[in-house]
């Protein structure tokens, strides 16, 4: 799923400084699962902002709202009757949300309240890790289910580099060297010879380097 972190409160307060009546829209998709933009987080942020503004002597009205997803026009449409009743709208979805909202309602101003960080999963409760860089050409099966593109700090296809020490990456002691994991697994399973393979220079056109991407499923397009 898409992982995000809540923006610092001060940054959000600064965004809404000019406004007295806003809507805060959460998303039931990824950000609910990673506990950053679901119903609970919407309620907490709304209360916090209200209290802070009350203290300043400038109370603010905040409407709380949840959408099934903010990455689908069908659900974005559900705000059609209400979107213009507010000075501004805050989205708690990933970066897709505020953009889809802005595209649907060009007259309104939309603000992101989270920083979208990566595609990954929960490795334990409250801890998420990156697992996919969305390079558009998946090769994880050659590396025993581990992705060197997203998980190696240098995206090396021929690792590990000379900075791998005791299973950790050179950039920080708490960053696992994925190449160490790959080599260990290959060794354990007697397939170290797999790593004698040469990988030709990767074609990054399928990644973000090729420009903004689009996926067209012909059978679904009317």
């Amino acid at each position: 799923m898409i992982i995000a972190d809540r923006k610092p409160l001060e940054e959000i307060q600064e965004m809404i400084k000019p406004y007295d009546n806003i809507m805060l829209v959460g998303c039931k998709g990824c950000v609910t699962v990673c506990n950053v933009g679901g119903l609970k987080e919407v309620q907490i942020l709304a209360s916090t902002l209200r209290i802070a503004r009350k203290k300043e002597g400038r109370p603010i009205k905040i409407e709380e709202r949840m959408l099934e997803r903010q990455c689908d026009p069908e659900y974005i449409e559900q705000l059609r009757d209400v979107y213009d009743q507010y000075d501004a709208v805050l989205s708690m979805a990933c970066g897709v949300g505020p953009q889809f909202l802005s595209e649907a309602y060009p007259e309104q101003r939309f603000f992101p309240t989270v920083n979208t960080t990566f595609m990954g999963g929960a490795v334990r409760h409250g801890v998420w890790e990156e697992r996919c860089a969305g390079c558009g050409t998946c090769i994880i099966h050659f590396f025993d289910g581990m992705c060197p593109i997203s998980r190696c700090s240098k995206s090396l296809q021929h690792g590990p580099c000379g900075g791998s020490a005791a299973g950790k990456c050179e950039i920080a002691k708490d960053v696992v060297c994925v190449w160490d994991l790959i080599v260990r697994k290959k060794t354990e399973q007697g397939r170290l010879e797999d790593l004698r393979r040469y990988w030709a220079a990767k074609d990054w056109r399928t990644a973000r380097d090729g420009g903004p991407r689009k996926s067209i499923r012909e059978e679904l397009v009317q």
Partner: protein, 315 residues
């Protein structure tokens, strides 16, 4: 290979091909456009080493470009070993720089991944890593031997470079290191310069495996030596430099030398190492990285018995 039988005809290649025990040095370009400073650093190396590695923004700290510093070296009559890292350039810039350095008279190139920018003085930077070091080696070889760019277009004047790569026998996972060396040689490395060696038993083991695998028949391996200036430096390297193996006995030995005598003890250890490398099967030379200690290189070379350097006929 060109008509004269050399891949690039660099001095380093000629020295190695003739069977001499090679001796290379290193020079970090200045943190500025101060050419005088660069001249001061490289002057002591003249006639003392076969080629000088010119580092490419090492530890991700911005310095004068290795391309410019290498070209200045050529002008001064010294032979550079131009270092190129994958961190800062995509394949377009890499190929362009390879053509450029050859045009400037540079004939050796060392292909490296590069230290991650997180270490350096611009940790906010975006990195590139379009190619990795293995692919950079293969690219330089393709440009030289096939006369083609990565996209298979013909090159008007292929760059004939003597291609180097690095190997760290001490990084983890240890058992894989010799395979990675083999991969680099397969990709096209003509010579290898290793990371600084302090743990001699581990290096002996590494070399034995390299020899057994026939790797030393296919590429020249230069053993990396960095003399310790003090026990403090040794401790720092042991603790903070990833992939560095500094045995406790060495730290003890340096401390035992006492204040004011540690640098001499460090040099003594380096000389003992060089003496052993001369005899070690598969080792074709030494790469001396005297970090900010370039003026000590002539003395170390003299005492290690690697002078005078062979004077080769032009290729």
């Amino acid at each position: 290979m060109s008509d004269n039988g050399y891949k690039s005809g660099s001095n380093l290649e000629r020295v190695l091909k003739a069977g001499h025990f090679a001796f290379t040095g290193e020079c970090g370009p200045p943190k500025g456009a101060n050419v005088e400073h660069l001249n001061e650093k490289m002057a002591p190396l003249k006639g003392v080493v076969d080629a000088i590695n010119v580092t490419d923004n090492q530890t991700a700290v911005v310095r004068m470009s290795s391309k410019a510093a290498s070209a200045l070296m050529v002008q001064a009559g010294l032979e550079p070993n131009f270092q190129m890292v994958c961190r800062d350039r995509n394949r377009i810039a890499m190929q362009s720089d390879i053509l450029g350095i050859h045009a400037l008279g540079i004939r050796n190139m060392l292909c490296l991944s590069g230290d991650h920018q997180k270490f350096g003085n611009h940790p906010e930077a975006k990195n590139v890593y379009d190619l990795d070091s293995m692919q950079l080696i293969a690219l330089a070889k393709k440009m030289r031997d096939e006369g083609k760019f990565l996209n298979d277009e013909e090159i008007d004047g292929p760059p004939k470079l003597f291609i180097g790569a690095a190997a760290n026998p001490f990084a983890d996972p240890t058992e894989f290191r010799v395979y990675r060396l083999a991969n680099k040689i397969d990709a096209g490395a003509d010579f290898i310069q290793t990371q600084c060696i302090y743990n001699m038993p581990r290096f002996r083991e590494f070399m034995k495996r390299a020899v057994d695998m026939g790797l030393t028949e296919r590429a020249y391996i230069l053993a990396g030596v960095t003399p310790m200036k003090s026990a403090g430096m040794a401790k720092y390297m042991a603790k903070f430099v990833p992939g560095m193996d500094v045995p406790a006995e060495l730290i003890k030995r340096l401390e035992g030398a006492g204040k004011g005598k540690m640098a001499e003890e460090g040099i003594k250890f380096a000389i003992e190492q060089i003496e052993e490398f001369k005899q070690m099967a598969g080792v074709a030379g030494v790469h001396l990285m005297a970090i900010e200690w370039e003026h000590k290189v002539p003395e170390i070379a003299e005492r290690a018995g690697v002078l005078p350097r062979p004077v080769m006929d032009p290729a």
